[in-house]
Symmetry: C2
Subunit: 477 residues, 2 copies
C-alpha cells in the first residue's frame, strides 16, 4: 500500500478506500479528532478515531508530537473546517511524545523560546511555512537562472585572498590553536598551515564569478558567505546565503533590468506555488501588528506587498536625485534623522533608504550612480570621474536587498583604484588578467537570500528565516 | 538591437538580417574566418570577415582571446563543418588579447597548466563543457527533489559540534592567531571567540537534516562540506559539495529505491540537455585513452556508460554476499589485492569495490547491511545485533559515489552506541530529542557532488570538475 501525504489527501476530490498515512499529531481533542501533519502542507488532516473500539492505552499515547501510522478511509467530512477527513481503521503509535516533556505544546511560543529549540521549531505552523517558502524561493532562483541561460557556479568558501574588503573575516586554520608555529620574525607561520597560506571564509563569490562570466557569459552563485562582525541585530547573521549573478557584455542599465525581472519572477513563483503558507503567514503578521500602534502597522498585507512588487515598476533614481529629495525632506529639515543629510557625497543610512522607499516613493527603488569613494574598488567609474555605476535596490520594510554594479573593465583605471586603496596587484593577479585578455563591459549584483526570505514571509528577525542561525555567541546545533 | 547568443544563432534554421553578437575569438585563420564563442554552447560560430574592406589595424587585433562585437547577417554557410555562418558587416574590438602574452593558446594545454590558470581555463572547450555539465547536474538535482516533494534546506557551515567523526575538521576562529586568550588551566579560551565556543567547518549536514525530516517529511541539503585531511590524491578535495536527502518514514529499501531513481534521473537530464558537451567530452576521453594500454581502456564510451546506468537496475548485494564473492575471487586467491579478504568484518577497500563493480557485476552495485563496527554510530542496528542498515552505491570507474543508511530511531540503542564511542550526550542533546519526541523510522544518503561530475564528464581528476579546488598547499584564487 502506497503511503499518502496530507497534501495529496486534502486535495483529493474523491473518497478513497484503504488509505495509509504517517505523520505527527498536532492536537487530539475529545478523544476522537486527531489533527495530523506530515510537513507536506501547512494544513492538517482530521483523522476521526473510533474511540469506542480503540484500546485505552493507545488513546492515551495519541499526544501532541507523537508519530503515528494510520490506515483508514478518506471520506467527506461531516464537520466544518475541512472538506475531507480520514475515518481511522487502525492506528499505530510509532514514536511517543510525553505530554509533560515535549517542548512544543499546542499553544503560542515566543520566537526566542523557539530559537532555543530550533531543532523542533519546524514542528510549528509558522516555521514550517517559513522553511517551505525558503525552499520554494531557492528553487525559483535556480529555475529563473536556468531558464535564462545562466550557469550555476560554486565559488570557493575557503579563500586565500582578503582583498575584497567587504567586512571582517573568519580565519580557517588547521594549525595548533594554542601554539601555532612562528616565523623567524615572530609571526604566525601560515606556510605550515593546511593551505600553505593564511585563509579565511569568503565574504563574496563575485570576483571568482567574474572569471566565469568572462568565458561562459552568464553565471550565478548561490552559496554561503560570512562576516565576523559583532552585529547583534535582527538583520545580521555571521553566516548567510547570497545569490550573485554576473553577466558579460551587460551594462548597469541591463543589470537593473535583470535584477528587477529576477525579483519579480521569484516572488511570482511563490505567489503561484505557496499560497497556503503565505495566507497563514499573512494572518500571523496581522495578529502581530495588532499589538503595535496604528502608525507602525503596514499599509499593505503580506500578499498585497508581494503582488505590489510583482505588478509595479521599480522606481529608478540617481544618488544625486535621492540626495536632493532627502535634503529637502521633512525629517531632514526637522532634524529627525539621526544622520542629517547636508551635502552630496554622504553615505545613505538605513533611515534614509527607508524614507525614500516607504514615505517618498512608496514602491521599490533602485538607486544608482553613487559617489565613487563610498563604494568598492571594482565598480565602473563614470565619465564624470566622481560617480561609479553602482546600484542598490531598496525594498519596503527591508531596506537594501540587492547591491550591484557594472565592473571596472579598464585595466589602467582598475589598477589606479587598487593602488589608492593599497590593494596589492599580486593579491588579485588573476582578477587583473580578466582586464588584460579580452576584457569587456560586465555587471552583476548580490542578493542577500535571508533578506528576500524575510520580505516574502513577513518575518521580522533574520534568525527566524534560516534553519540554524550563526550570530555572536551562538553556534548551537 | 537585441544581442544574440551563439547557441541561438547556430540553432536557427532561417537566415537573419541585422544580427548582433559579442564573444571571444577562439581562432582567426586566413585573415578571414573567426571562430567565435560566448559560452552559450561548446560550438563556435564562424564569422566571415570581409578582409579587403576591413582596416589592417582591426584585423591585427582579432587574436585568440580578444573580446569582439560583430554586426552582420546570418547566412547559410558555403563551407563545410557548419550549416550557418555570419557575414560580418562591422567589427569592434572590445578587449584585446596580446597573442604573445595570452596563456590560453589555440593548442593543447596540460591540465596541470590549466589548473594554475583556473581563472582562464573555462575559455577552453574541455573546461567550459565540464562546468556547463556541472551546472546542469546541479539544476537536475534541485528539479528532481522539487518534483518529488522535497524541501531544500541550508544546514549550517560553521558548526559547534564535532561529534560526527566523519573526519578531520578545519577550525573557524576570530581570535588572535598568535596570542589567543587562555583559560586558567592554560587552554585556548574559546569562550572569548566569536561564537563563545570552539567552532569548525561542517563535514556533513546530515544530523541537522534529520531534524527537518522529522517535521517537514522530505528534505535535502546541497552545500559545501570540508575535510582537513592531507590527502593529495586525484579523488580528494578539502572543500567539496554534498547532496544529502533525508526522509521520514522511509526504511533502507526505500532509501535504495530513492538513490537509484535519483541517480538515473539526474543522468537522464544531462543526456537530454547537454549532448553537445557530452559528445565533446566523450571524444576527449577516447583521445586520452588511446595513450593507454588496451587493458586500461574503458569498455564503454562516456555516453554509453551514462546510458548504461540509466537503463539498468543497480545490483543489490549484501555485505555478507560481497565478502563471499571477494573471498573466492581470483585476485584474492592469487594475493593480487593489497588487502586480502580473509573474514567477515573486513572493511572494503577501493580495490575491492572496483573489483565488484568492474569485474564481477559489471554494473552499478548497492552494497548493504554492513558490520556495525565499521560504520557510523547513527546507523540502524539490525535484528542480528551485528550489522547496520547502511548502503553504499559503487559506480564503475569511480567507486563509492553514494553512502547512506537508515538511522537508529530508538533512543536507548542510540545512547548505547554513543556511549561506546565516547560521544557525549550533551553534545547531541538536540539529536537525541528527535528520538524522544515522535521518533520514527527515517533514512537518507550523501552524494559527493564532484564524484558525480567526474562520472558524468569522464574527467579523471577531481580538481578539474570544481571551479577553484582547495587541496593541501593550495587555496589560490
Amino acid at each position: 500500500m502506497k503511503l499518502h501525504t496530507v497534501a495529496e489527501l486534502l486535495s483529493s476530490d474523491i473518497t478513497l478506500q484503504d488509505i495509509e498515512i504517517k505523520g505527527w499529531v498536532r492536537t487530539f481533542r475529545a478523544n476522537r479528532f486527531i489533527a495530523l501533519n506530515d510537513g507536506s502542507t501547512i494544513n492538517n488532516i482530521q483523522c476521526v478515531v473510533d474511540f469506542e473500539n480503540t484500546d485505552e492505552v493507545t488513546l492515551k499515547r495519541i499526544t501532541t508530537g507523537a508519530a503515528i501510522h494510520i490506515k483508514g478511509e478518506l471520506v467527506e467530512s461531516q464537520g466544518k473546517g475541512q472538506s475531507v477527513e480520514i475515518q481511522v481503521k487502525t492506528i499505530d503509535i510509532l514514536g511517543d511524545s510525553h505530554p509533560d516533556e515535549y517542548p512544543i505544546q499546542p499553544k503560542k511560543h515566543s520566537f526566542e523560546f523557539l530559537r532555543e529549540n530550533a531543532h523542533l521549531r519546524t514542528r510549528t505552523s509558522t516555521f514550517s511555512a517559513v522553511m517551505r517558502l525558503r525552499s520554494s524561493l531557492s528553487f525559483a532562483i535556480h529555475k529563473y537562472f536556468n531558464e535564462n541561460g545562466f550557469y550555476y557556479m560554486h565559488t570557493p568558501i575557503i579563500t586565500g585572498s582578503d582583498a575584497e574588503g567587504a567586512g571582517e573575516m573568519f580565519r580557517v586554520s588547521a594549525l595548533d590553536a594554542k601554539n601555532p608555529p612562528l616565523t623567524e620574525d615572530g609571526k604566525v607561520n601560515y606556510k605550515e598551515d593546511f593551505f600553505g597560506k593564511e585563509t579565511n571564509l569568503t565574504v563574496s563569490g563575485q570576483l571568482e564569478a567574474e572569471t566565469y562570466a568572462m568565458s561562459l557569459g552568464k553565471v550565478y552563485t548561490f552559496g554561503p558567505t560570512f562576516r565576523a562582525e559583532n552585529s547583534n541585530t535582527s538583520r545580521h547573521l555571521a553566516e548567510f546565503w547570497m545569490i550573485e549573478p554576473e553577466v558579460a557584455f551587460m551594462d548597469l542599465a541591463g543589470n537593473m533590468d535583470l535584477a528587477e525581472d529576477f525579483m519579480k519572477s521569484v516572488l511570482s513563483y511563490v505567489l503561484e506555488h505557496n499560497m497556503d503558507d503565505l495566507k497563514f503567514l499573512e494572518n500571523r503578521l496581522l495578529d502581530e501588528e495588532k499589538t503595535k500602534p496604528q502608525a507602525e502597522r503596514s499599509e499593505m498585507s503580506l500578499i498585497e506587498k508581494l503582488k505590489f512588487v510583482v505588478d509595479n515598476n521599480f522606481k529608478r533614481v540617481s544618488y544625486t536625485e535621492a540626495i536632493d529629495i532627502l535634503r529637502n525632506s521633512k525629517p531632514n529639515k526637522k532634524k529627525k534623522f539621526n544622520y542629517i543629510i547636508e551635502e552630496w557625497g554622504a553615505d545613505l543610512q538605513s533611515e534614509h533608504e527607508r524614507y525614500l522607499v516607504e514615505k517618498h516613493f512608496k514602491c521599490p527603488v533602485i538607486l544608482f550612480d553613487y559617489p565613487a569613494n563610498i563604494k568598492a574598488f571594482y565598480m565602473r567609474l563614470n565619465e564624470d570621474g566622481k560617480t561609479v555605476r553602482a546600484m542598490d535596490i531598496l525594498f519596503p520594510g527591508i531596506g537594501e536587498i540587492v547591491g550591484g554594479s557594472q565592473r571596472e573593465e579598464r585595466l589602467d583605471v582598475l589598477k589606479e583604484k587598487m593602488k589608492a586603496l593599497d590593494i596589492e596587484e599580486e593579491e588579485l593577479w588573476w582578477y587583473l588578467d580578466l582586464r588584460k585578455y579580452g576584457t569587456a563591459v560586465h555587471s552583476g549584483f548580490g542578493l542577500g537570500f535571508e533578506r528576500l526570505v524575510m520580505f516574502a514571509t513577513g518575518m521580522g528577525n533574520i534568525r527566524d528565516v534560516i534553519p540554524y542561525p550563526r550570530t555572536p555567541q551562538n553556534a548551537e546545533f
